[in-house]
């Protein structure tokens, strides 16, 4: 479904952030990219969505070279991207944003179903503005819902767990699992969350601008967790990256 070949990207100040990334994501699976903060995960997602352009390297979607396509063209080819930091709009209601994402008008029942998947009550939220009146966690869920509403094939979620409470999180996990079960779609999550890493088919560790490790979850996960030990404050297992 998605193939990245030797992708390089530098920040405006010249710092090399991605230094030759190669990776393949197959349809009908869930791939999780993880790695240290500042490792270039968000940058990689932006490159796939066309928000940033690589210095060199190629991006292929279903075998077609999409490196030269702009954001709109990639979206129309089926690339869907949930931002790590969602954008706010004065004057656009939640329902309208979901309809723009779906590319068609939605019934109240459909809007409620989408919002339910991210743990929001449809009746309460569909008329709310996607502006500063929503809390960080609320806007993050709306952001995820806009991507779940899309009729695409490659679904990218950049740290979807941020700001989501435990109860809604289970719902979110099932939403991802049912997306994964669609054979014609591919799911690419950027995450540090253990429960998301656990449901991955494949884990990719991005570190130092390169793919440092990749493999099936049962193989990679123990290595990540093994390195991290336990958190001194809460006793939870923590992943730490080289």
């Amino acid at each position: 479904m998605l193939e990245l070949r030797d992708i390089k990207w530098s920040a405006p100040d010249g710092t090399r952030v991605l230094d030759g990334v190669d990776l393949t994501v197959k349809s009908g699976g869930l791939t999780v990219i993880t790695g240290p903060n500042g490792g270039g995960k968000t940058t990689l997602a932006k490159l796939v969505a066309g928000v940033e352009a690589p210095e060199s390297g190629r991006i292929l979607l279903d075998g077609d070279d999409i490196t030269g396509l702009d954001v709109t063209q990639r979206a129309r080819k089926g690339v869907c991207f949930a931002f790590q930091q969602p954008v706010r709009f004065k004057g656009i209601p939640v329902r309208r944003l979901l309809e723009l994402a779906a590319g068609e008008s939605l019934t109240e029942v459909q809007v409620c179903a989408l919002l339910n998947q991210v743990g929001l009550c449809g009746q309460e939220y569909m008329g709310r503005q996607v502006d500063a009146s929503l809390s960080g966690g609320e806007i993050k869920r709306v952001e995820i819902a806009t991507v779940l509403a899309r009729p695409g094939k490659l679904f990218l979620f950049d740290e979807p767990e941020a700001g989501i409470d435990l109860w809604s999180f289970s719902g979110l996990i099932s939403a991802f699992q049912s997306l994964r079960d669609r054979r014609d779609k591919a799911l690419l999550l950027i995450s540090h969350q253990e429960r998301i890493l656990e449901i991955a088919d494949e884990i990719i560790v991005l570190s130092g601008g390169k793919v440092a490790q990749r493999g099936p979850a049962p193989e990679i996960l123990p290595q990540l967790m093994g390195k991290g030990g336990h958190c001194a404050d809460c006793g939870k297992r923590k992943a730490v990256f080289a």
Binding site: V51, V71, A75, R76, F81, V87, K90, P93, L100, R150
Partner: protein, 304 residues
């Protein structure tokens, strides 16, 4: 009334061949149709062009429509409408004005609307302004004067959404104790259009509150100037917000002024002027919209 007036009434005043409550339609400087109801008396002023509208105590949510239309060039219409709203009365007032030109001559409407609300009265005031027709200059200069008695409430929803070349919009309000004023302004200018909007609000009574939000979009070579002056002379709260999206060579200036003449007057102003945020456009494009579709959607939502 003529067919242009009919079209204006549909867009400006929700007219569907008839009005549900009391109304008066002004067309090219004179009264085309008028009706009073048991709770709303409309009478022409003597010696002055305009109306006295008395909304009596006991009125419960009647919709009163007093739109004004200028349907040809060469007309400079001036109307004085005074609204006297009795204690505890509740009503929705739809004013609004349409100016149409098609003979190459300029046209203008100036509406001076004064609202006197007795204690406890509650009014929703809706005012839309629209220009249509050929390239000759159209001007709409509304002046609104508001006096709110104790505990009275007025919500003003005012919009100028196209076709008006020159606008000089002035709103002045004085609030008594516990009175509440909410103002929502939406303004769009394009091409060579110019609009000035000026709000002066004075809170004289304890517990008075004003919330003024102006959103505007300036495109092309248009100019906008926003001025607000909120004065608190008693324990009161005031909030004003001016948000403008600027595109092309348009220019916008905002001059907010707050004066607290009492230590318990809490006044806030927020202003933001600038281009549409790039990240908003990117987000909508990731949903499949083009750059132009994204911009139009953002502007539409912003002015809605």
């Amino acid at each position: 009334m003529n067919s242009i007036t009919g079209k204006f009434l549909e867009t400006l005043a929700g007219w569907k061949g008839t009005f549900s409550g009391a109304y008066s339609v002004r067309e090219n400087g004179s009264c085309a149709e008028m009706r009073s109801t048991p709770f709303v008396e409309i009478t022409p002023k003597s010696g002055l062009s305009g109306l006295d509208i008395r909304i009596l105590p006991g009125c419960r949510g009647e919709v009163v429509a007093v739109p004004a239309c200028v349907t040809q060039g060469g007309i400079d219409d001036l109307a004085y409408n005074d609204f006297y709203v009795g204690a505890g009365a509740e009503a929705t007032i739809i004013a609004g004005c349409g100016v149409h030109t098609e003979n190459g001559e300029p046209a203008r409407h100036s509406g001076i609307h004064r609202f006197f609300l007795e204690p406890g009265a509650k009014v929703k005031y809706i005012e839309k302004h629209l220009g249509t027709g050929d390239a000759s200059p159209r001007a709409i200069d509304p002046e609104t004067v508001i006096q709110l008695g104790e505990g009275a409430q007025l919500e003003m929803d005012t919009a100028q959404l196209g076709g008006v070349d020159r606008a000089d919009r002035r709103t002045k309000a004085v609030l008594g104790a516990g009175a509440r004023l909410v103002i929502r302004e939406r303004l769009l200018t394009e091409g060579q259009q110019q609009a000035k909007s000026d709000f002066v609000v004075q809170m004289d009574g304890e517990g008075a509150a004003v919330d003024l939000v102006s959103r505007s979009v300036a495109r092309g070579d248009s100019r906008q100037s926003f001025r607000s002056q909120i004065t608190g002379n008693a324990p009161c709260t005031g909030h004003s917000e001016c948000d403008a999206l600027v595109d092309g060579n348009a220019k916008v200036d905002a001059t907010p002024m707050l004066s607290a003449n009492h230590p318990d007057a809490a006044l806030i102003h927020e202003a933001a002027i600038g281009k549409i945020a790039g990240e908003q456009i990117v987000k909508l494009r990731t949903l499949g919209l083009t750059q132009e579709e994204a911009e139009a959607e953002i502007v539409r939502g912003f002015l809605e």
